[in-house]
């Protein structure tokens, strides 16, 4: 489902990772680890197509469900309206399953602005379910979740993987997931190689 070969990624003109190689097939979870600032987020942004890589190849499905540091929620809209909106953008399944999975039914009619940080994150994760995408690309999905809600996330991830999905996740906690492989990115760390300037990149 996802094939990454000899990939180099850069941020702000600094090459962060080079020679990254991995592949992921349906039913697998890949956990990326590494210190802060190593380039995990940049790698995920490349995989989701938000950013171009410096060199190397990425073979990914045309649309992936990306979840970044920000949840992309509209505070003036209710929980349900947020989910319905994203479901319609992705032509995904109805939001009921996602509301169940993250125990959001009670909050469905609350404006998203009134949610706590953990509740917002749950709503952000529920968005992945209504996307209907096979590949989930998640950047620190468990931030601000408590133990109980991490368990909900794990269950949702299991469900997704068992139905033929896959996920790339960066996280600092132990996911304890049976089909999860851990890839430590430290060995791909680039050593101070400056890439071409952003201006040259834009010209290419």
């Amino acid at each position: 489902m996802l094939q990454v070969s000899n990939l180099s990624v850069a941020r702000g003109g600094m090459t962060l990772l080079c020679g990254v190689d991995f592949s992921l097939s349906a039913g697998q979870v890949l956990v990326l680890r590494g210190a802060n600032g190593l380039g995990k987020t940049t790698l995920l942004r490349c995989i989701s197509g938000l950013q171009d890589s410096v060199e190397g190849q990425i073979t990914a499905p045309e649309t992936v469900a990306y979840s970044g540091h920000a949840d992309g929620l509209k505070g003036q809209m209710t929980v349900l309206e947020n989910l319905v909106f994203w479901a319609s953008i992705y032509h995904g399944p109805s939001p009921n399953v996602a509301l169940d999975a993250y125990n959001l039914h009670r909050l469905a009619d609350r404006p998203a602005a009134n949610l706590s940080a953990g509740q917002k994150r749950r709503l952000g994760l529920a968005r992945l379910q209504v996307s209907g995408c096979a590949l989930w690309v998640m950047d620190e999905p468990t931030v601000s979740l408590d133990v109980h809600n991490v368990a909900l996330f794990r269950a949702a991830l299991n469900q997704h993987v068992q139905s033929g999905g896959a996920a790339v996740i960066t996280t600092h906690i132990d996911l304890e997931h049976a089909s999860a492989r851990v890839l430590d990115l430290t060995r791909f760390k680039a050593r101070g190689v400056a890439s071409s300037s952003a201006f040259e990149e834009a010209l290419e």
Binding site: S48, G68, G72, K74
Partner: protein
């Protein structure tokens, strides 16, 4: 795309959306002009087309940075960029929503406020028509400028500097059409050119804006 359009319209009407901002600004400008220039009715009628067009243009400028800025800040734009919706469609949806919530109300309010500037009924009709034809260009060019200045913190100044020169042709032809009606002359050409600017912007800018968004999201 229609869902994004409806969402943007809905958000701008809800609290904190800034729907009334442009309209109130327009109202303030137009009501203050007679106080500033004195009650000479014939003088007011002469400057009315220019003032009304200029007021509408500046009112339109006020809300431009919200078009993409809010979605950029809360991460929605990243998610839209990874969704099946192309960024060109995101631009079209957002520019149309901006027009519906600023350009259209401004066009409809202009002939009513024109009464304050001694604008007669016939000229008011053409003013409304010229704004209806011209304001789409303002929203389209403005949204393009907003996509260029995305990610620049407090980019309002840069946005205005970029966008205002591009607004000049619409302003010239729009106010000229209304002035010509006042003088009882043919005004078709000005209106046609005004529509041409809007149509040209609608044809070209989605692609330019899509490219600008892609670069700024990196």
């Amino acid at each position: 795309m229609i869902q994004l359009f409806l969402r943007d319209v809905g958000l701008s009407v809800r609290s904190g959306g800034g729907f009334g901002l442009a309209l109130i600004f327009f109202l303030i400008v137009v009501t203050l002009i007679p106080f500033a220039l004195g009650p000479d009715q014939s003088a007011l009628a002469v400057i009315a087309p220019g003032v009304l067009w200029l007021g509408a243009l500046l009112a339109c400028l006020l809300s431009l940075d919200r078009i993409f800025g809010l979605d950029f800040e809360d991460g929605t734009l990243d998610l839209l960029a990874t969704s099946p919706l192309p960024l060109e469609a995101v631009y079209v949806a957002k520019a149309s929503a901006h027009w519906l919530t600023t350009g259209l109300p401004l066009s409809l309010a202009a002939p009513v406020l024109g009464v304050l500037l001694n604008l007669d009924y016939e000229t008011g009709k053409i003013l409304c028509l010229s704004l209806l034809l011209g304001t789409p260009a303002l929203s389209l060019i403005g949204a393009f400028g907003a996509s260029l200045t995305l990610g620049v913190k407090r980019g309002g100044l840069l946005l205005s500097l970029l966008v205002l020169p591009l607004y000049v042709p619409s302003l010239i032809f729009g106010s000229q059409a209304v002035r010509l009606v006042g003088q009882g002359l043919e005004f078709d050409v000005a209106l046609i050119l005004l529509s041409a600017i809007s149509l040209g912007a609608a044809a070209i800018l989605p692609f330019a804006s899509g490219a600008a968004l892609r670069i700024n999201l990196r």
